[in-house]
C-alpha cells in the first residue's frame, strides 16, 4: 500500500501528542511553580530508492539520488525551566526561588522529591510542609510561641523567628536548595514534584543565593511559566498540522480508490 498513508498517520499521531502537551500546559496556567513542556520532533527513517553517486551509465552518475521519508516521531517532551513571574502574596510561608534550584521534599516513601512550588504550610506539629503535607528537607519546626507573622525567611534560606512579646530573634534551620546539571531531565511525578533521574544528574545541595543557586524571596510565589498566547499559537499550529496530515491521508485514499477503479 501507499507509504503516504502511514507517513501521514505518524504526522497525525505526533500532532496529537503535541496537542496533549499544550492542553496540559494550559490546564496548569495557574499552578504555582509549574514548568511548561515542549514536544521536540524528529524526522523518521528514510528509504533509499536510488543511491546518490550510483552509476547511471559508464560515464555518468546519479547526482542526487532519491530518498523517501517515512514520517515524523516525537523525540522528547522537554520541560522548559524558564522562570515564572513572581506573585506577591503576603503569606510568610510562601517562598519563591529567584533563580535556579528546587526545594527538597521528603516523600512518604522516604525518597527525596524536588519542587519549585513554595506555597508551604504548617502541620499539627508546626513543621513546615507542602500543601500535600510532605515535610520540607531540612525539617524546620516553628516553636509554639511564635506567631505566624513573626516568621522570616532570609534570601540565603535562614529561618528566623521572634516569639510573641519578645524582642530577640532566633535563627532556626537554614533551608537549602538543590540544583541539577540538567533539570530538564528530572522526572515529573505530579503534585508539582520532580524526582531525580539518571538524565538529571545528582542533586547539588547547598545554601540558597550562593554558587549559582537562586535566592529565596519570602511572601511571594512563582507563577506558572506558561504564556497563554504562546500556547494558543502553538495550539492553532498543531491543529492545522493535524489537519494537513489528514488531507494527505484523504488524498492517498482517493488515489487508492482510483487505482481500484482501473478494473471495471
Amino acid at each position: 500500500m501507499m507509504r503516504a498513508l502511514y507517513t501521514a498517520a505518524t504526522g497525525m499521531g505526533a500532532q496529537q501528542m503535541n496537542v496533549d502537551t499544550i492542553a496540559n500546559n494550559l490546564a496548569n496556567v495557574n499552578t504555582a511553580g509549574f514548568k511548561k513542556s515542549r514536544v521536540d520532533f524528529q524526522d523518521l527513517l528514510y528509504q533509499q530508492i536510488r543511491m546518490a553517486g550510483a552509476s547511471s551509465s559508464d560515464s555518468t552518475q546519479v547526482p542526487t539520488g532519491i530518498n523517501i521519508g517515512l514520517g515524523v516521531r516525537p523525540a522528547a517532551t522537554q520541560k522548559m525551566f524558564t522562570p515564572g513571574l513572581p506573585k506577591p502574596t503576603g503569606n510568610p510561608l510562601d517562598v519563591r526561588i529567584a533563580g535556579d534550584g528546587f526545594f527538597q521534599i521528603t516523600l512518604p516513601d522516604g525518597e527525596m522529591g524536588y519542587t519549585r512550588d513554595g506555597a508551604f504550610k504548617l502541620d499539627d506539629q508546626r513543621r513546615i510542609v507542602t500543601s500535600d503535607g510532605y515535610l520540607l528537607e531540612p525539617a524546620v519546626t516553628i516553636p509554639d510561641n511564635v506567631p505566624f507573622e513573626n516568621i522570616t525567611i532570609a534570601k540565603d534560606g535562614t529561618v528566623q523567628v521572634k516569639a510573641a512579646g519578645e524582642d530577640t530573634v532566633t535563627d532556626l534551620t537554614q533551608i537549602t536548595v538543590a540544583t541539577f546539571v540538567n533539570p530538564a531531565g528530572l522526572t515529573a511525578i505530579g503534585g508539582n514534584i520532580y524526582k531525580q533521574s539518571p538524565a538529571s544528574g545528582e542533586a547539588n545541595v547547598g545554601n540558597a543565593n550562593a554558587e549559582g543557586r537562586g535566592s529565596l524571596e519570602q511572601r511571594e510565589l512563582e507563577m506558572s511559566n506558561v504564556a497563554v498566547i504562546d500556547e494558543m499559537v502553538d495550539l492553532i499550529t498543531a491543529q492545522r498540522a493535524y489537519d494537513v496530515n489528514s488531507k494527505s491521508i484523504q488524498t492517498s485514499d482517493e488515489m487508492l480508490g482510483l487505482a481500484n477503479n482501473l478494473k471495471r
Partner: protein, 253 residues
Amino acid sequence: MISGFYAAGGAMRVYAERNDIIANNLANVATPGFKKESVYVEPFDVLFARVTQPVGGEESLVQSPLGRLRDEAITVYTQGAFRLNGGKFDLAINGDGFFKVRTPAGVRYTRDGSFQLDSTGQLVTADGYPVLGDGNAPVVINTAEGSDVLVAQDGTITVSGVQSGRITLADFDKPYPLRKVGHNLFEPTSEEAVELTSTSPITQHAVEMSNVNVVEEMVALITNYRNYEMAQKIARLQDQTLDQAINTVGATR
C-alpha cells in the same frame, strides 16, 4: 498490447511516489531544522503532451516520467523561519552550516538546535548525541558556578562570565553531498566529502522551524492527485480501446 497502457500505469506509480514525498513534508511541518524534499509538479498541458505523444525514442513514455521524478526528489536547504522565546540551549543557525553531532555511527550533521544538557553537562541532542565544538570534542557546559549561559554568534559559550567552550559549525560545497538518515540528522553521501567550516551566526533562544510551506505542499498535493487521476483515466481509455478491439471489431459471431 497497447504500450500506452504501461505508460499510464507507470505514471500512476510515479505520482503515488510523489504523494509519499509530499506526505513526508507535511508530516514534518513542525519538525525543527527539517529540510523539505522538493517535488516539481509539471503543468497539465506539458504532462498531457507527454502522456499522449507517440511512444519511442528518447522521450519514451514508459521510462521518462519515472526517471524524471527520481532526479527531482532533492532536499531543499533553504532557511527555515526562527521560533523565538526558546530555552537557553535552543540554538539556530542563520545561514549556511550545520551543527556537528557525534553518533555511534560517526559524525553527523543537523540543523535542529533544540539541545539539552545531559547529566555530565555535555550539550546533547534529544537523542543524547553530544554536540561537537573545537577540535571535534564534545561541548561541555559547566553550570556549577552559575546558570547564565550565553552563546555568542560565533558559538562561544559563556557561563556567568566564564568562557566554557565553543560550538563549531560545519559546511560543505554545494550541492550538499548529504543525505537524510532520520532523527533530524544528515550524513555525507561519500567518504570524499570535504567538511568545511561555517561562520554563519548562531542565535540563542531560537529554534529553526521546518522550511516546509504548507500552501505549496497543499497545491502540490492537489495537482499531483489530479495528475494521478488523469493517468488513471488514460489507462481506462486504453482498456476501453482494447475492449472495443477484442469484443466489437474482433467479434467472431
